[in-house]
């Protein structure tokens, strides 16, 4: 007992107190009543002082509760409402518009349905009830999820208000909603490759969403307007889809670009996808063929070859080229598709699309000149557009005479359609290269371009392209009154060890109107098949050119291009006179 460190003196003393016999026999209460002694009082006083300490602590506790209750109720504590907190943290992302102000992408607050399995009473019943409202729910897997031991499972993200109401009406326990922002693309497929898409956290993954991610997230979400005109986009897409159907092409792309400002007015790639559901896209659907794919563009490159030769002075309109037979070079033999087997003028090389003639022109200028010129046209690098998808070209490993010859007619080099049309536009823009852009250019904005050829050379190539439409392979591209000037391109697809003549990349690149070129347009069909009406031909002139003609006649009025009233025949004679001051003997 000595070890017991309590108030020894109290108990010892009180024990030593001799109690009266009567008190001993009296009931406990009674005995206590009798012993109102100083020791007892002292003990009670000590207890009272301790009670004071405890009482004070409790008072502090209750005061704290009161203060906290006031804090939460009046001020709304910082950690009060998680849903509010979430809303504050919500990513603010600007909308995307086209150049006319149509909404291409916007952010909506949607309700996402989750479940707390520990509060779900009957997993099977709940899953079946939900499936009655959201029919594409897999009852078995949801039953398994709801029967789990976790406290949180997503049932379905991003419900429409109607779906949310329907789920709400089921009145099932353990289900809850969370507000989640979701990116919505009202134009769906029509602008799919342009706007791209985001992930769940609204991070841009493709298209403009990725290219302008920084701007869209800046501040409170800055809206971004694009250079696209959705009306033009609609017509390009419609015509392109019709061509794909008619020629059973695997894919297609169409681009319309303002040659003076570099603005991309339309950019279509087929097959496309619904950016609202990017994960449901068909294989290849998400591929933006206008920028992400590279193709051997074929004879389209002859326009660049001729421009280069004129610019370097190694050829003039009077130059003649021997196309009497195949050209032997470095163990290869270059043939013409429509062999004329005669001497051809520069104009004829272009309009008859002679590979032999084009090779000879390029060889005259040399590999260095060709490389320098194509480099100036930005064809040896990825197209300088904002899109992250813009692909690098495929270039020959060494650039010898053989490569010079093949590249002159667009083989042995693969570039993206957007790079091609940008280079093509330079010819129409008086020889000045302007970077293609997806952002609209203000009317008074100064465009910084780079002169890549003289005005005269550019005009001559333009004349040749117009002649090619009036009296050459591009005849079907002519849209009455809009003076299309362009060049066909037909390339065989490379296969192992050579080229497959049955699988073509057929394209038509053009500018219009010839008088005062404003827009460049490119239509490319991947593996088109000839039909009865094309006599089985699937080349650019038969497949892509008519599409260009159709598109131009539809979009030129929309774009405000004036229709020229001159007789086609008269203009043809004028052009011919301009091109041929004297006949080649």
């Amino acid at each position: 007992m000595r070890l017991w460190p309590f108030r020894k003196q109290v108990s010892a003393k009180s024990r030593s107190v001799a109690l009266p016999p009567l008190a001993e026999a009296a009931p406990a209460d009674m005995s206590r009543l009798l012993r109102i002694e100083s020791d007892e009082t002292k003990a009670l006083d000590a207890a009272r002082s301790r009670l004071r300490v405890m009482g004070l602590s409790l008072a502090v506790g209750f005061a704290l509760l009161g203060a906290r209750a006031i804090d939460i109720a009046v001020l709304g504590s910082a950690d009060a409402a998680p849903s509010q907190r979430q809303a504050q943290q919500a990513i603010v992302r600007g909308d995307l518009f086209d150049r006319t102000g149509q909404v291409l992408a916007t952010t909506l607050e949607t309700h996402s349905l989750y479940a707390d399995p520990s509060l779900v009473w009957d997993a099977r019943e709940t899953a079946e009830a939900l499936a009655g409202v959201l029919p594409d729910i897999d009852v078995d897997s949801l039953t398994e999820d709801l029967g789990g031991r976790g406290r949180f499972v997503w049932v379905r993200r991003n419900l429409t208000p109607r779906q949310r109401q329907a789920v709400f009406s089921l009145g099932l326990p353990g289900l809850g909603f969370r507000m989640e922002p979701r990116r919505v693309y009202p134009r769906g497929r029509l602008a799919s490759h342009i706007v791209g898409y985001t992930d769940r956290d609204l991070q841009g993954l493709a298209g403009a969403e990725r290219a302008f991610d920084g701007s869209l997230l800046a501040g409170d979400g800055r809206p971004v307007a694009l250079s696209i005109d959705m009306t033009v986009q609609f017509h390009v897409a419609e015509v392109l889809a019709a061509s794909v159907a008619e020629f059973q092409a695997e894919a297609a792309t169409g681009i319309v670009m303002d040659v003076r400002t570099g603005e991309i007015v339309s950019m279509v790639s087929l097959p496309d996808f619904d950016p609202n559901r990017p994960s449901d896209a068909t294989p290849g659907g998400r591929l933006n063929r206008a920028a992400q794919s590279v193709y051997e563009m074929g004879s389209t490159f002859k326009a660049f070859t001729v421009a280069m030769a004129l610019e370097n002075g190694t050829a003039t309109l009077e130059s003649g080229y021997d196309a009497t037979g195949p050209l032997q070079i470095g163990g290869y033999q270059i043939n013409d598709y429509h062999a004329e087997n005669r001497r051809l003028s520069l104009t004829e090389v272009f309009t008859h699309s002679s590979n032999i003639g084009s090779s000879l022109i390029a060889l005259d200028a040399g590999a260095e000149a060709q490389r320098g010129f194509l480099g100036d046209l930005r064809l040896l690098e990825r197209a300088p557009i904002e899109l992250a998808e813009s692909a690098d070209p495929l270039l020959p490993r060494n650039w010898g005479p053989t490569e010079t010859a093949t590249i002159s007619y667009g083989h042995g080099i693969a570039v993206s359609p957007i790079a091609t049309i940008a280079a093509f536009a330079a010819i129409a823009n008086d020889g000045v290269y302007v970077r293609p852009t997806l952002l609209p250019v203000a009317a008074d904005e100064t465009i910084v371009g780079e002169r890549v050829m003289s005005s005269e050379s550019a005009q001559t190539v333009l004349d040749l392209m117009r002649e090619n439409v009036l009296d050459g392979s591009g005849g079907y591209a002519d849209a009455p009154g809009f003076q299309v000037a362009g060049k066909t391109g037909t390339a065989e697809k490379p296969t192992r060890g050579g080229y497959d003549s049955s699988r073509l990349i057929s394209s038509f690149s053009a500018v219009f109107p010839y008088d005062d070129p404003q827009y460049a347009i490119l239509v490319l069909l991947d593996e088109p098949h000839g039909t009865e009406s094309t006599y089985g031909y699937a080349t650019g002139g038969w497949t892509a050119a008519p599409a260009v003609g159709e598109i131009v006649s539809r979009i030129a009025p929309i774009l405000g291009v004036q229709r020229a009233e001159d007789e086609t025949g008269e203009r043809a004679a004028l052009v011919r006179a301009a091109l041929m001051p004297e006949m080649i003997p």
Binding site: W4, P5, F6, R7, V10, S11, S14, R15, P27, A28, D29, R32, L33, I36, E40, T41, A43, L44, D45, A46, A47, R48, R50, L51, R52, M54, G55, L58, A59, G61, F62, L64, L65, G66, R68, A69, I70, I72, A73, V74, G76, S77, D79, A80, A81, P82, S83, D116, L119, W121, R151, F152, G171, P173, G176
Partner: protein, 375 residues
């Protein structure tokens, strides 16, 4: 006979502490009003036909409890003490056989089922042990030839052991604090205060590492991102939604989302529907209850009654502090009912039992109180 009864009643009425009685009855009435608010939501969730099922049950238990409380309050201290000791023995016996006859809820075996009524013996253990310990301490202090403190300690250890078998960490902590409080008030030397506090701290640390749910709750409290804080988030939302004036009776939403809206989170329901006024009223009533019990304890001349009143008031105070503290996100979540207010038959009866003892010990008797507290 009738005269005796009426005289007895008159004596009781003169002697009973009417302040405490009114506060306790007020809390019970608040509990019934809130049961009316929370019951339809809970019955809907649990698939019970009658929307006021919980209200009816709560009313029945409240009536039973109040009758029991008044009856116990009429006992003299000795009778109250005997009742407490009997209740302690009964509770301990039941808790010992609990692993055999109890049924499991959410991983813990704490209940005995009698028809539709679930009895939680540990609820009755708390006031019984407090009163018994107060008696034993007072006896040893008084110099009675029994090792009161050793016996009290033995009973306490046994109780904690039985609670840990269930397991019930929260009740153990509460019981430890009440027991410690009584011990402290009985004149524990400061050295031992230090030793026993560090032992309690060690015990909590051990529990933290032994029981995963304890650890996870504490972690979640410290870092809300580390786990699910669904209940607390909803409660916070409800209280801030209620604001000053409240959303209005029946307009609260938290009761539709919170699984324990009618028990552990009844405070949040009250705060949402009736606003800050209701929160402060509940907190105020508990503060008043404790303050009144405390001043009475200070004035009591008998050490045993003083300690018993202290312990019982401490139990109500701590239970209220913990429950409201959890609702206000001041302390980690702990399933503890709000005394007299939360729904629960077993809890209501046990609390009424404790309140009856409190009223019995604070009753005015000749010589019980110092007329003027000197010193």
């Amino acid at each position: 006979m009738i005269q005796d009864l009426s005289r007895g009643l008159a004596t009781w009425w003169r002697g009973v502490d009417r302040t405490l009685l009114v506060i306790i009855l007020a809390l019970i009435v608040i509990g019934l009003v809130l049961a009316m608010a929370a019951s339809p939501a809970m019955t809907d969730r649990l698939g019970i036909e009658d929307p006021f099922y919980f209200l009816y049950r709560q009313s029945a238990f409240a009536l039973l409890g109040v009758i029991g409380m008044l009856g116990i309050s009429a006992l003299n201290p000795k009778g109250a003490r005997r009742l407490a000791v009997l209740a302690l023995l009964g509770a301990l016996a039941l808790m010992m056989v609990l692993p055999l006859i109890g049924y499991e809820v959410k991983g813990a075996t704490r209940w005995i089922r009698i028809g539709s009524f679930g009895l939680q013996p540990s609820e009755f253990l708390k006031p019984a042990l407090i009163v018994t310990a107060a008696w034993l301490f007072a006896e040893e202090q008084r110099g009675a030839p029994i090792p009161g403190r050793v016996i009290a300690f033995g009973l306490y250890i046994l109780s904690i052991g039985l609670l840990m078998i269930q397991p019930d960490f929260g009740q153990s902590v509460l019981l430890t604090l009440c027991f410690g409080g009584v011990f402290f008030a009985s004149g524990l030397s400061w050295i031992w205060v230090a030793v026993l506090s560090s032992l309690a701290a060690a015990g909590s640390t051990l529990a933290y590492f032994t029981f995963p749910h304890v650890a996870s709750r504490v972690q979640r409290f410290i870092d809300p991102e580390s786990g699910d804080t669904y209940q607390i988030d909803r409660a916070m939302e409800a209280i801030s939604h209620g604001g000053i004036a409240g959303a209005g009776p029946g307009e609260g939403e938290v009761k539709n989302f919170l699984p324990d809206a009618h028990t552990d989170f009844i405070f949040a329901v009250a705060a949402e529907e009736f606003g800050l006024m209701a929160s402060l009223a509940i907190i105020g009533l508990f503060a008043l209850l404790v303050a009144r019990a405390w001043t009475q304890a200070m004035r009591l001349q008998d050490s045993f009654a003083q300690l018993a009143v202290t312990g019982l008031a401490l139990q109500f105070a701590l239970q209220a502090l913990v429950n409201i503290g959890v609702n206000l996100n001041l302390i980690p979540p702990k399933g503890m009912t709000l005394p007299f207010v939360s729904y629960g038959g077993s809890s209501m009866l046990a609390l009424a039992f404790g309140a009856g003892l409190l009223l019995a010990f604070t009753r005015r008797r000749p010589g019980a109180y110092a007329l003027r507290h000197t010193s």
